[in-house]
């Protein structure tokens, strides 16, 4: 296995970000910054009920508002065949409700006015006669015989069931459990949370009535996929749609799907013949856009008495909300949850997942989760700690004993994943060394003597990112491969066009670094174009940490194509056979005679000149490629969290957080660390503060930043990062992707730490978020169950 010292690719490194030049000056261009001549403003009326029949809608007062140009309802859309749109999971979702509303905050009507304030005023003037219906707010009650059927719009749908899915060998797993010395079970909820990027969602649609061309500026992590879906929904010809995703103020998976507001801005522009902007407010964002998690899991773990883990068995009830709108590869209705065997070498594993409808907002796969791997990692890492609790074992030792060993790679799991590379014990050992693990345990013992509560939480994770191989993975039939185009101008400057889209990850910098590394060009000479479907090749976009593994690979390969072509041009320039040339840094030179050579810049100029090229070789220096990944990549890491718990208030202070990440070769270490920092803050937030809860009537209890608490600078410690480097053997530059690693790995480290702190109180498991009230309750004998709503 290649280690960091002998890594084959140099030329990467810490460089400042190209994006920052505009962003620190306040010169970014986010969707809400877009201004077009004659632009109008749209606003949505949303349902106050979680489940209600719509008897009638009276828009007359809104239409009479002097600044209103149009009011559109579901009835209007019905006439156009646009009342429903496909979701990314082969379901349909109402653009504007016609028959009934199915969750609180659902879109009911759209007002177009001259300005934003007037549009909002007019929304208040619309009168809707609702007839409230019984609500299913609890996934566990969704399949009850008397549960109201939420999706009565779907033919043949007589209950709230969406899908059943399973993975692993049930008989084999049951046999392992039947013979195991120790079996421990636990109910584990990963509560509903929301990614809450700082910028809400929005769009500006501009339909040119003369040319019939639609330009849509929108908050999209996947502009090409969006274009194709619009073509399918609206029947617009795809070449007449241009989706531009300008600067995006954070995405985290929340901006993968298509929301009714985007569609309504398009409809609005068609109806009025003017550009229409729609930007939602924060309450709308938190209530109606893609949530994450909401997985009710029952885990069972089988082991020997001395702590060898043998098997895992999991049953999941997945709450998908009112429309199944999760964004995930088609063949995986539960995402990649079946990677739940985690980082351990097991004899057997089996899981079943049942998806149900509830009267809650749709979504499900969002928030830096790599298609449900967050839930999977949380489950296994909690179960290992539950086992450690029962065996009175040290959680770090127990993990060390069961980790997959370096010589076992490539490693095929019991649920069919082929982990590409890793050295797990090394990463865990490094984290323990950095933390001073033994010292911490000593400190903890002393504190316990004194009655003080300190906890040390350990978590190990394996990610599966870079979806994915076309033969297994598609979304709505679109294979998950990505294109790249690279053009070297006559003067040796380059333009790279990619299908993925940064939301803060710094693609304009790192992708230039990949090209620079392959061709020896300064990154300042490389322009990266992205986020515009008219200017970039097709690809499925940025989520699931797939930019580096898929598009990054495409970029390296397209640069290599250029290098190969440059070789032929150089051979014509030097009048030698291509076989006599070797690549050195940024030039092709004659083997054994390095004086004789041509730089990539010289070659670029010659390629555009009248130089005679060999038969069949076209001039110019450009290339395109489409990368179909042979496998996913598998980043991993070991995290240790240290907390202090206040007995009087139940307050948790995260004192230290040590994160060792291995994401293969790092293109820009500065950016990688930034990605990890952000994910760690997410973990602290989810573990301690964030939850989207509902009451029994389906009222959303977290529709503002006063109710949905996000971590600030004061809740976050100063992160302590470490790294190991195990390159991916199948990725052209050995990189694995890192965008979501920390969000996946960190929540459990925090939860494990808090539970470790309060272990003397006999608490084995507690559901997130571990708020002061919840922890205080636990210290005072109340079980911690987040469950449906506020406990």
């Amino acid at each position: 296995m290649t280690t960091v010292e002998e890594r084959p690719h140099t030329g990467f490194g810490r460089t400042l970000r190209k994006e920052d030049v505009r962003l620190v000056r306040g010169k970014g261009n986010y969707v809400d910054d877009v201004r077009l001549p004659g632009m109008l403003h749209g606003a949505l009326l949303r349902s106050p009920y979680a489940h209600a029949k719509i008897n009638s809608i009276d828009t007359s007062a809104a239409e009479a508002h002097p600044k209103v140009l149009a009011v559109i309802t579901g009835e209007t859309l019905k006439g156009l065949g646009l009342a429903w749109m496909p979701t990314l999971s082969y379901d349909v979702q109402a653009v504007l409700a016609t028959d009934k509303v199915r969750y609180q905050g659902q879109e009911v009507a759209f007002v177009i006015a001259e300005d934003h304030y007037s549009a909002r005023d007019a929304v208040e003037l619309i009168e809707v006669d609702y007839e409230p219906l019984p609500v299913v707010a609890d996934a566990k009650k969704a399949m009850a015989a008397d549960a109201p059927v939420i999706r009565d719009d779907k033919e043949g749908q007589t209950d709230n069931h969406i899908f059943d899915w399973e993975s692993g060998d049930q008989a084999e797993t049951d046999a392992v459990f039947a013979n195991a010395e120790v079996v421990v079970a636990e109910d584990i909820l990963y509560p509903r949370v929301h990614p809450a990027p700082l910028e809400t969602c929005g769009s500006v649609a501009d339909m040119d009535p003369v040319t019939g061309k639609l330009t849509l500026y929108t908050t999209s992590q996947a502009p090409h996929a969006h274009r194709t879906v619009y073509a399918l929904v609206a029947g617009l010809p795809e070449h007449k749609i241009r989706v531009i995703s300008p600067d995006i103020g954070g995405g985290f998976g929340n901006k993968v799907g298509i929301y009714p507001g985007y569609v309504m801005s398009i409809v609005g522009s068609i109806v009025t013949g003017k550009p229409v902007k729609w930007v939602e407010d924060r309450a709308e964002h938190l209530m109606s856009t893609a949530f994450a998690r909401d997985y009710h899991m029952r885990g069972e773990i089988a082991a020997t008495k001395d702590g060898k883990i043998l098997g895992l068995r999991v049953k999941v009830l997945a709450d998908h909300g009112a429309f199944n709108a999760t964004a995930q590869p088609t063949k995986f209705p539960a995402g990649f949850f079946h990677v739940f065997t985690g980082s351990y070498d097991l004899q057997a594993a089996h899981c079943t997942v049942t998806g149900v409808y509830t009267n809650k907002a749709p979504g499900g796969v969002a928030y830096a989760c790599s298609f449900r791997i967050t839930e999977a990692v949380y489950l296994v890492e909690r179960m290992v700690d539950v086992l450690a609790y029962e065996l009175k074992a040290d959680p770090a030792e127990l993990r060390m004993k069961n980790l997959i060993q370096p010589e076992q790679f490539p490693y095929t799991t019991k649920t069919g994943w082929e982990y590409d590379s890793g050295d797990y014990p090394k990463a865990l050992q490094l984290a323990m060394d950095m933390a001073g693990y033994d010292e911490l345990r000593k400190e903890q013992a002393e504190k316990r003597e004194r009655g003080e509560l300190m906890g040390i939480g350990v978590a190990f994770f394996t990610e599966a990112v870079g979806a994915g191989p076309r033969k297994h993975m598609d979304i709505l039939g679109l294979g998950m491969a990505d294109g790249a185009e690279l053009r070297i101008h006559p003067t040796g400057k380059a333009v790279l066009r990619i299908s993925v889209k940064t939301q803060g990850q710094g693609h304009e910098t790192t992708f230039a670094q990949i090209v620079g590394n392959e061709l020896g060009l300064p990154t300042a000479d490389i322009e990266v174009v992205h986020g515009d479907t008219d200017q970039t090749p097709f690809g499925l976009g940025t989520y699931g940490s797939r930019s580096t593994p898929v598009s990054g690979a495409a970029t390296a390969l397209v640069a290599r194509k250029i290098r190969d072509k440059a070789k032929i041009v150089a051979s014509a320039m030097l009048e030698v056979s291509p076989d006599d040339l070797e690549w050195e840094g940024n030039r092709w030179q004659v083997k054994g005679d390095p004086e004789q050579g041509k730089t990539i810049q010289e070659i670029a100029l010659a390629a555009h000149s009248s130089l005679e090229l060999p038969e069949g070789v076209e001039g110019h220096l450009d290339a395109t490629t489409v990368y179909n990944p042979p496998n996913l990549t598998y980043p991993f890491g070991a995290y240790i969290c240290v907390v202090d718990v206040d007995k009087g208030t139940g307050g948790v202070k995260v004192r230290r957080f040590i994160a060792v990440d291995d994401c293969g070769v790092r293109i820009n270490p500065m950016i990688v660390e930034g990605q990890v920092h952000g994910g760690l803050a997410d973990g602290v937030g989810m573990a301690l503060m964030q939850v989207i809860a509902f009451d029994e009537e389906g009222n959303h209890l977290g529709a503002s930043f006063m109710d949905y608490l996000l971590p600030t600078s004061l809740e976050c410690p100063s992160w302590e990062l470490g790294e190991t480097t195990t390159p991916s053997p199948h990725h052209p530059i050995g990189a694995k992707g890192v965008g979501e690693s920390a969000t996946v790995g960190s929540p459990c480290a925090v939860v494990n730490a808090v539970l470790d702190a309060i272990k003397p109180y006999g608490v084995r498991h507690a559901d997130m978020p571990l708020t002061p009230a919840a922890v205080w309750g636990a210290l005072n004998g109340r079980p911690i169950r987040t469950d449906l709503a506020i406990p």
């Binding site: 620190v24 000056r25 700082l198 995405g251 660390e673 920092h677 952000g678 600078s713």
Partner: protein, 160 residues
């Protein structure tokens, strides 16, 4: 009603509704889109600007309340083609990712350093604690502000 606000040294006079928020005056009327909006409840701080030299959340102030007063926004940080040290610090230390919180963070950081040229990590964390960043986990924002403080200290030494 007519409101005049001096923004980054330029008077902006516009006829506005009394309910117009300062953040919208800056963005829509003055056309300065570096100041962002991110929440309904004055929690996120991406809208922070200076009002008469003090940082405020501009979504919490009516434009009318700023009549006759002066506002400084992120666009006013760069002076004579030279970036403010806090801007440089954020670039050097990767204090921003998506950049959406950045204008507010920069304005608060500048105000902090003016009041306290040598802040500790805790003081920096306290100063920005009324603002949210969803990308950076705050660590590099803290480092960026420290970078700027050190840079200013060293330039002062040179000029002194």
């Amino acid at each position: 009603m007519e409101v005049t606000i001096n923004i980054n040294g330029t008077p902006e006079t516009h006829d506005v509704e009394p309910r117009l928020l300062l953040v919208h005056f800056i963005r829509e009327k003055a056309g300065l889109r570096g100041t962002h909006w991110g929440c309904d409840t004055s929690n996120c701080g991406t809208c922070v600007v200076w009002l008469d030299g003090k940082p405020v959340k501009s979504c919490t102030v009516f434009a009318a309340m700023a009549d006759g007063r002066s506002v400084r926004t992120v666009e006013g940080l760069e002076q004579g083609g030279k970036l403010d040290p806090v801007q440089e610090g954020f670039m050097e230390c990767h204090g921003l990712q998506c950049g959406f919180c950045t204008p507010g963070m920069l304005m608060t950081s500048r105000a902090l350093l003016d009041a306290n040229p040598d802040p500790t990590e805790t003081e920096i964390r306290e100063a920005i604690s009324g603002q949210l960043c969803r990308c950076t986990g705050y660590e590099n924002i803290v480092r960026s502000v420290r970078w700027a403080a050190e840079k200013e200290a060293s330039t002062e030494e040179v000029t002194a």
